[in-house]
């Protein structure tokens, strides 16, 4: 083992290791290589999609069809964000799929069977999510139960409760029963792909994203470029990127965004602000990175972890509500199979536009790419029952690909 690897490996870092003192310092190169390293999986996905385009043509490039994929998988992606929060804190939350199933049943059932006012139904779902998160947090933080066991257990309870509530069957609004509000489910509602989000707001959002992107590229200035020069390069890159996106049909994409997709994007935006631009996000990352150091630096890891579980529960509840809106009914185990793709999306974020860091946009993009990779194969003739296999393989390939690439660079 050479000293560079020794020092990079936390286990072999001795506090008084003078060898650690002499680590070579690579300041200037980092900006460029990090950018490349973080993009490699992203580029690999694009190559896969390019192959799909050549192979499947219009059947794959159809904006409406691909938007439908995102629309249908919005609850999965929301669950990805739910597990992301706890992953950042260094914990697992395996109960989010069950929580989403439970709130899906509550959202449909409390209206259809109990006839509650729908606003109250939504409040009940949110409260269920918050309480579930609190229960997880309490078990993990206060009781010291292993996070895996705790959330596996609570997940079983949530799923079981949904089965008890529904007597194990589907809950549907049949004639003669109170119906779900027309804005919520059915044609022309929140849950329908044909209900589009106002394009103006999306354009404003995109403009904001372009500015943010410009600012972050600008910060990565390698020392060999003058500031002015790099500003021009960054601005140029953004313009080129925008042009490429327009050629690829950005405007048709903006017009294809349904309310469901918008809910996902808004949730992602809020989570991004929360995790990357607040003290809470920093404390959470510090907790996940080194809980002892966080404590000594004045952070309360228990409190932050607790918050993470509660936010995870809340997002899972929203995912369940969105699922109810999409389907208009609730079926047993509705969201349980979402757990693998949700975790896959969150883990993909560590290799998409990032080097080992969990982040919100990587989760959303990773989740969408995951869906498209399997959808492409299904469009190409693969039976849909293969979806899970494809998800598993893509997750492993993407992460392994990045690890191998990073290990190469280090060696």
């Amino acid at each position: 083992m050479n000293p560079v690897q020794a020092a990079a490996d936390p286990a072999s870092q001795g506090a008084t290791d003078p060898g650690g003192e002499q680590r070579p310092v690579t300041g200037g190169r980092l900006g460029g290589s990090k950018l490349l390293q973080g993009s490699i999986s992203f580029i690999a996905f694009l190559v896969v999609f390019l192959i799909y385009v050549i192979w499947l043509g219009d059947k794959f490039t159809s904006t409406e069809a691909r938007a439908l994929d995102i629309h249908q998988n919005a609850p999965v992606l929301l669950l990805g964000l739910a597990v992301l929060v706890t992953l950042i804190a260094g914990q697992f939350d395996l109960s989010v799929g069950s929580m989403a199933t439970l709130t899906c049943f509550l959202a449909v059932g409390l209206k259809v069977n109990q006839g509650w006012p729908f606003a109250l139904v939504l409040v009940a779902c949110i409260v269920a999510g918050l309480l579930g998160g609190l229960a997880n947090g309490f078990l993990v933080v206060r009781m010291g139960v292993n996070t895996f066991i705790a959330t596996l257990g609570t997940g079983g309870v949530f799923l079981g409760l949904s089965a008890v509530y529904s007597s194990g069957t589907q809950v549907v609004a049949t004639a003669g029963k109170p119906q779900l509000p027309s804005w919520f489910a059915g044609t022309g509602s929140l849950g329908s792909l044909s209900t589009k989000f106002p394009a103006v707001l999306l354009w404003i959002g995109l403009a904001g994203a372009a500015v943010m992107l410009f600012l972050s590229v600008r910060r990565m200035r390698p020392p060999r470029f003058a500031e002015r020069q790099w500003d021009a390069i960054s601005a140029g890159a953004i313009v080129v990127l925008a042009a490429i996106l327009f050629v690829l049909g950005l405007s048709s994409w903006v017009n294809a965004v349904s309310w469901t997709i918008a809910v996902l994007l808004i949730a992602a935006l809020v989570m991004w602000l929360l995790l990357d631009h607040t003290t809470f996000g920093r404390y959470l990352r510090a907790t996940g990175s080194n809980s002892t150091a966080a404590t000594l630096a004045g952070v309360n890891p228990g409190k932050e972890t607790m918050k993470a579980f509660v936010i995870g529960g809340l997002l899972a509840a929203i995912a369940g509500i969105l699922l109810a809106a999409n389907q208009g009914d609730a079926s047993p185990n509705a969201a349980v199979s979402f757990l693998l793709p949700a975790f896959a999306a969150a883990f993909l974020s560590t290799v998409i536009l990032s080097t080992g860091r969990f982040h919100v946009w990587g989760t959303v993009i990773g989740g969408i790419f995951l869906v498209w990779v399997s959808q492409g194969l299904i469009v190409g003739g693969l039976p849909f029952t293969w979806t899970e296999v494809v998800n598993g393989v893509v997750l492993i390939l993407a992460v392994a690909f990045s690890s191998v690439f990073q290990a190469r660079r280090k060696a």
Binding site: P3, G14, G19, T26, L30, A286, A293
Partner: protein, 504 residues
């Protein structure tokens, strides 16, 4: 539990050591080691005869650990050669006759002594895949007898005392046929009784014909146990004498002499005249108990630097946590003025200080984030980055890139970043644990200057360090923590390192 206790009739190391059992000579010549062009070992020449008990001493960062790791084969040497019994070897670690005991003993707490001894060994099988437990136990008992450890071999290692664990680790390497033992600071974390027991075992092993090379900071151990003392300074051997020719004072003067020459080389840290030290109280401990601390009173005033030292296990670091507030006293009171904040530089940089996977900025600002929070409750990233950049420049962190990953920094620079975090939180009380552990001389002097600055600016500073140089360089009052209690305070001018060593 059945448990086979060590049987005294079985071969003790002394009787087992026939002539064929005596270790061969180790000859190291011209050994150099560089990291990225920076030479750490400047040509080590050392010959160790079989049966020698060598005490390897030297301050932090002198290259002791690097030397051991090069010999073990963890690091590749840059040049020079190592011979074992005249035979050229790539590393001593590759030889079955040589065993290395590191501070991390490599034992699994959950497993029994027997199972730990079998780890990595060829399995002893009855037939097929079935293990021969009886033979494993008997072997384990024989191994324990080598170090005079009379414990049931089914005991879980986690239930042993720290000293017993070290003995089990030694038994393991001896049992595998090691005749040369490198023991790297095995006693530094042991309570005195365990240390004595370990030293006895090592002495007996050496008497049986094995070579022992022991790294230690404890003067008394070196004098008591070894027959030869090698002093390593700045990657060179500066002293190599028979232990019998040395006494405590001679050893101390060897260490002090180097401190002077080292300081002269790097520009001696000018000790400022005593800080005012008559400010209002910043911290008062009243009969505080907690951890290893057993009833201790201490007052620190604004504008003064108070230094505490002691051995590991004396309660020194527990005291720091009690003063900072990360440990609650089980008895007694910790009094701080209302609204006073304290900040801590933790003793273990890697495990308690830094966030390895985060940027320098994030490491610097974590304790004072609310300062960059705007009216919208969102962090003002631009201001935060600017402040981090300023701190990086002020402390001379290399690379001067606040976006650099903390894990990529060298030890000294990591320490600077953790110092920067403490400075950024602008506390009224600084608790600095081992502020110069593992940092080079230049950084050391910078840190001393910084501490002087803090006290001059009116802060109260508590320096908790096992390195007496820290205390004499910056502290106004010095005391020793022994067994959880505090000695009387001395001023830095009243005492000297020799006297202080005697107290410890």
């Amino acid at each position: 539990m059945e448990g086979i206790a060590a049987d005294s009739r079985q071969a003790s190391p002394t009787t087992a050591a026939g002539p064929h059992d005596v270790a061969k000579e180790i000859a190291i010549s011209g050994l150099r080691k560089s990291f990225a062009g920076n030479e750490v070992l400047h040509g080590i020449d050392l010959t160790i005869a079989g049966g020698d008990f060598v005490g390897l001493m030297g301050p932090n960062g002198a290259g002791k650990s690097t030397l051991i790791k090069v010999l073990d084969g963890v690091y590749e040497r840059s040049s020079g050669e190592v011979r074992y019994g005249g035979e050229l070897v790539s590393s001593l670690g590759a030889r079955p006759e040589v065993g290395f005991i590191h501070q991390d003993l490599g034992l699994v707490d959950e497993l029994s002594i027997t199972d730990n001894l079998r780890l990595g060994e060829r399995p002893l099988r009855r037939f097929g895949p079935l293990l021969d437990r009886g033979r494993e136990r008997a072997d384990a008992a024989r191994a324990l007898a080598r170090v005079n450890l009379g414990l049931p071999v089914d005991t879980a290692v986690g239930a042993l005392s720290p000293g017993e664990k070290t003995l089990v680790a030694i038994a393991r390497v001896l049992d595998r046929g090691a005749k040369v033992l490198f023991v790297d600071e095995a006693t530094s974390t042991l309570p005195p009784a365990d240390s004595r027991r370990l030293l006895e075992a090592l002495k007996e092993t050496a008497a049986g014909g094995a070579t022992v090379i022991m790294v230690s900071h404890k003067l008394s151990e070196i004098l008591d146990a070894t027959n030869r003392v090698v002093l390593l300074l700045d990657g060179r051997i500066v002293e190599d004498s028979p232990a019998a020719s040395l006494d405590r004072e001679a050893l101390v003067s060897m260490l002090v002499a180097r401190e002077k020459s080292e300081s002269a080389g790097a520009g001696l840290h000018e000790r400022k005249a005593a800080h005012a030290g008559d400010g209002p109280e910043a911290l008062r401990l009243e009969d505080v108990h907690g951890g290893a601390v057993r009833g201790l009173d201490l007052t620190v005033r604004k504008g003064e630097v108070v230094g505490l030292t002691g051995l590991p296990g004396s309660g020194l670091h527990d005291l720091a946590h009690l003063a900072h507030g990360t440990m609650r006293p089980t008895k007694g009171r910790v009094v701080k003025p209302k609204g006073a904040r304290s900040a801590l530089v933790p003793p273990h940089r890697e495990s308690q200080g830094g966030f390895a996977d985060q940027s320098v900025t994030e490491n610097l600002t974590i304790s004072s984030l609310s300062r960059w929070r705007g009216p919208s409750r969102l962090l003002r990233g631009d201001r935060e980055r600017a402040d981090a950049q300023a701190m990086v420049e002020r402390l001379g962190v290399k690379p001067a890139d606040p976006e650099a990953n903390f894990a990529t920094l060298s030890g000294g620079n990591k320490q600077k970043v953790i110092f920067g975090r403490v400075l950024m939180s602008r506390p009224s009380l600084y608790v600095l644990c081992e502020p110069t552990r593992g940092v080079d001389v230049g950084t050391r002097l910078e840190i001393y200057a910084l501490i002087d600055e803090l006290a001059a600016a009116g802060a109260a500073v508590l320096v908790v360090s096992s390195d007496s140089e820290d205390l004499f360089a910056v502290c106004d009052r010095i005391a020793v923590v022994t067994d959880g209690r505090l000695s009387a305070f001395l001023t830095a001018t009243e005492t000297n390192p020799q006297q202080l060593e005697a107290f410890i």
